[in-house]
C-alpha cells in the first residue's frame, strides 16, 4: 500500500466514559484512528474492549466524552456517521432464518445502497467470502466459519471507512482463523480501510496490527506499535526456571542476558520479548485466560 502523505483522522474519541449503574466499564479512553490504520485493542476479559466498540459504533450511549468521525460529532448526526462504520460483532448476528443472499440484501437496504448496485455488490461479496454456492441456503445451516465470513463481508457491503472487529476469530478452528485473518489483511491492504480490532489472540494481534492499545479496567495503559512496545521492554527475556514458578528478567541485548544466564545457577532460557510479555508486565495478568 502506498504511504499516505497526510493521513486523515477517521475516528477520534476523547475522554470516553461509560458507566453501568455505579460500575465503570470504560474510564476516560482516548483513541485516534487514521485512514488505513490497523489498530488492535488488547486487554483481558472485562477490560472494557467490547463496551468501547459498542460505544464507538452507537450501540451504547457513552456517559461522558466525545466521539468524532471525520471531525464531526457522532451524536449530532449519527445517521451520517454510521455510514462510515462497519461492524463485525463478537456474536454472529446474521439472521439464521434468512439465506446468505437475503442477509446481504437486507444490509444493502438498511444502508441505502442504490438498487441498481445491490446485486453486483452482493455477488462480489459472496465471491470474496467464498460463499457463492451457499447463497440460497438458510444461515442456520452454516458452520461457524461460514457465518463469520458472511458477517465480515456484510459489514463491508456499504464500503465503510472503518471496520470494527470484536474478537472476529474467537471460537474458530486454527485453520479457519487463519483464513479469516487473511481476509481481514486483504481488506486493509487492498481497500485501505481502517481497522480496529479487539482480540484475545495476542500473537496474532502482534503479527497484524501496526499499532496496539492495551487496556485494563477501562483505561488505556499503553499504546504504540508492537515493535516499539517490545523494544521499550528491552527486547530479550531470560526465563529462569525456579522450583515453583518461572521468573522473567528483561534485557536490552542478548549479550546482557547471556551474562546473567551464566551467573544464574538455575535452568534458564533466553528468548525475544513478545507482546504478551509487555501485556503481563503492565497488567500483571495473562491475557489468554
Amino acid at each position: 500500500m502506498a504511504v499516505r502523505e497526510v493521513a486523515v483522522n477517521v475516528l477520534e474519541a476523547e475522554g470516553l466514559i461509560k458507566k453501568f449503574g455505579d460500575k465503570t466499564a470504560i474510564d476516560g479512553i482516548d483513541l485516534r484512528i487514521r485512514e488505513g490504520d490497523f489498530t488492535g485493542l488488547l486487554g483481558p476479559n472485562g477490560a472494557g474492549k467490547t463496551t468501547t466498540i459498542k460505544t464507538l459504533t452507537g450501540l451504547v450511549k457513552p456517559t461522558g466524552g466525545r466521539i468524532c468521525y471525520y471531525g464531526k460529532d457522532f451524536f449530532s448526526n449519527p445517521k451520517e456517521a454510521k455510514r462510515f462504520i462497519g461492524v463485525v460483532p463478537q456474536q454472529s448476528n446474521v439472521d439464521r432464518d434468512l439465506t446468505a443472499y437475503e442477509n446481504l440484501y437486507l444490509h444493502s437496504m438498511l444502508h441505502a445502497i442504490p438498487k441498481s448496485l445491490r446485486k453486483g455488490k452482493i455477488e462480489e461479496s459472496l465471491e470474496f467470502a467464498g460463499l457463492q454456492e451457499y447463497r440460497d441456503r438458510q444461515v442456520k445451516t452454516f458452520s461457524g466459519g461460514m457465518k463469520r465470513r458472511l458477517v465480515l463481508v456484510r459489514a463491508l457491503l456499504h464500503e465503510p471507512k472503518i471496520l470494527f472487529l470484536d474478537e472476529p476469530t474467537v471460537g474458530l478452528d486454527p485453520q479457519i482463523r487463519k483464513n479469516i485473518w487473511g481476509l481481514i489483511l486483504r481488506i486493509n491492504q487492498q481497500k485501505g480501510m481502517a481497522i480496529l480490532l479487539t482480540t484475545h489472540y495476542i500473537e496474532e494481534a502482534e503479527k497484524l496490527c501496526r499499532s496496539v492499545y492495551i487496556i485494563d479496567k477501562g483505561k488505556i495503559i499503553v499504546k504504540g506499535s508492537p515493535d516499539d512496545l517490545k523494544k521499550d521492554m528491552g527486547g530479550y527475556v531470560l526465563e529462569v526456571f525456579l522450583e515453583d514458578r518461572i521468573e522473567e528478567e528483561f534485557f536490552n541485548s542478548k549479550d546482557d542476558a547471556l551474562v546473567r544466564l551464566k551467573e544464574c545457577g538455575h535452568a534458564c532460557k533466553i528468548r525475544q520479548v513478545t507482546l504478551e510479555d509487555v501485556f503481563i508486565k503492565l497488567t500483571g495478568k495473562r491475557i489468554n485466560v
Binding site: T57, G58, L59, V60, K61, P78, K79, E80, A81, K82, R83, I85, V87, P89, Q91, N93, V94, D95, R96, D97, L98, E102, Y105, L106, H107, M109, L110, H111, A112, Q138
Partner: protein, 245 residues
C-alpha cells in the same frame, strides 16, 4: 428515504414467509375452537345485544386474534434481540428509530390483518353476514397498529424472555377475556367496569363490532383508540431509544 422502514419490513416478511404455513395453521386453531365451543355450543338459542350470539362473537374473535398476532411481534423481537442479536443490525445501520418502529408496526399490522382474513373465512363457513366498510378498515388498522406498538414497547423494556411471558399472562390474557370479546362489558359489576374501560381492547371491540354488525360507531371511542395508538407509538420510540442507554 424510507430504506430503513423497507429494510425492517423486508426482514420480518421474509422470516415470516419461511414459517408462514406453521404460523397460519397455529393462529387459525384457537378462534376455531372458540367458534365451535361457543358458536355452535350456544347456537342461536342465545342472543346478545339483539344479535345472535355467533354474530356477536365473531367480531370479538377478530379483535382477539388480531390483537394476539399484532402483539406477538413482541415475542419475535425478543428472540431477535436477546438470542440472535439481529436487532443490533438495525441499531448500527444509518436509519432512524422512527423507521424501525414503523417497520415493525407494519409487520404487526400485516399479521393482524392476516388473522382477520382467517376469521372472515370462518364467518362465511358459519353463515354469519358481516358489513365490511371503510370504517371497519380504519378501526382495524388503528387496533392492530396500537397493539403492535404496545408489543414493541414491551419487547424493548423487558430484560428477558421470562419477563415477556409474565406480561402475556398478567396483561394480555386478562385483557382478552375482560374487554368485551366474549360478552358485553356492560353486564360486568360496577368495579370491573371501571377496570375494563382503562383497557384499550374494550374500545377496539366496541368500535369494530359496531362497524361489522351495522351498529352506531361511538366517535369518542374511535378517538380514544387513535389516542392509544399515538401514545404507544411514542412509548415504542422511547423504548427503542432506551435500548441504546
Amino acid at each position: 428515504m424510507f430504506n430503513g422502514f423497507q429494510g425492517v419490513l423486508y426482514r420480518e416478511l421474509n422470516v415470516f414467509r419461511k414459517r408462514a404455513k406453521k404460523q397460519i395453521v397455529a393462529s387459525s386453531l384457537s378462534p376455531l375452537l372458540f367458534l365451535i365451543a361457543f358458536g355452535w355450543g350456544f347456537g342461536d338459542r342465545v342472543a346478545v345485544n339483539g344479535l345472535p350470539y355467533i354474530t356477536f362473537l365473531i367480531p370479538g374473535l377478530i379483535c382477539m386474534s388480531s390483537l394476539n398476532q399484532s402483539f406477538a411481534i413482541a415475542q419475535e423481537l425478543n428472540i431477535t434481540r436477546f438470542y440472535f442479536h439481529v436487532f443490533d443490525e438495525f441499531l448500527i445501520a444509518p436509519i432512524s428509530h422512527v423507521e424501525i418502529v414503523l417497520g415493525e408496526a407494519a409487520y404487526g399490522i400485516f399479521k393482524g390483518l392476516l388473522s382477520t382474513c382467517l376469521i372472515f373465512a370462518y364467518s362465511v363457513i358459519f353463515g354469519v353476514k358481516l358489513i365490511i366498510g371503510p370504517m371497519f378498515f380504519l378501526a382495524i388498522l388503528t387496533h392492530t397498529f396500537l397493539f403492535a406498538t404496545l408489543g414493541i414497547t414491551v419487547a424493548m423494556l423487558v430484560r428477558d424472555h421470562g419477563d415477556q411471558a409474565t406480561v402475556n399472562t398478567f396483561v394480555i390474557t386478562p385483557m382478552i377475556f375482560l374487554s368485551g370479546t366474549f360478552f358485553p362489558v356492560d353486564k360486568l359489576p360496577e368495579i370491573f367496569k371501571w377496570l375494563v374501560y382503562v383497557l384499550p381492547l374494550t374500545y377496539s371491540t366496541k368500535v369494530i363490532r359496531a362497524t361489522l354488525t351495522g351498529g352506531d360507531v361511538n366517535t369518542l371511542y374511535l378517538m380514544l383508540m387513535l389516542g392509544f395508538a399515538a401514545t404507544f407509538f411514542f412509548t415504542a420510540l422511547w423504548a427503542v431509544r432506551r435500548v441504546e442507554g
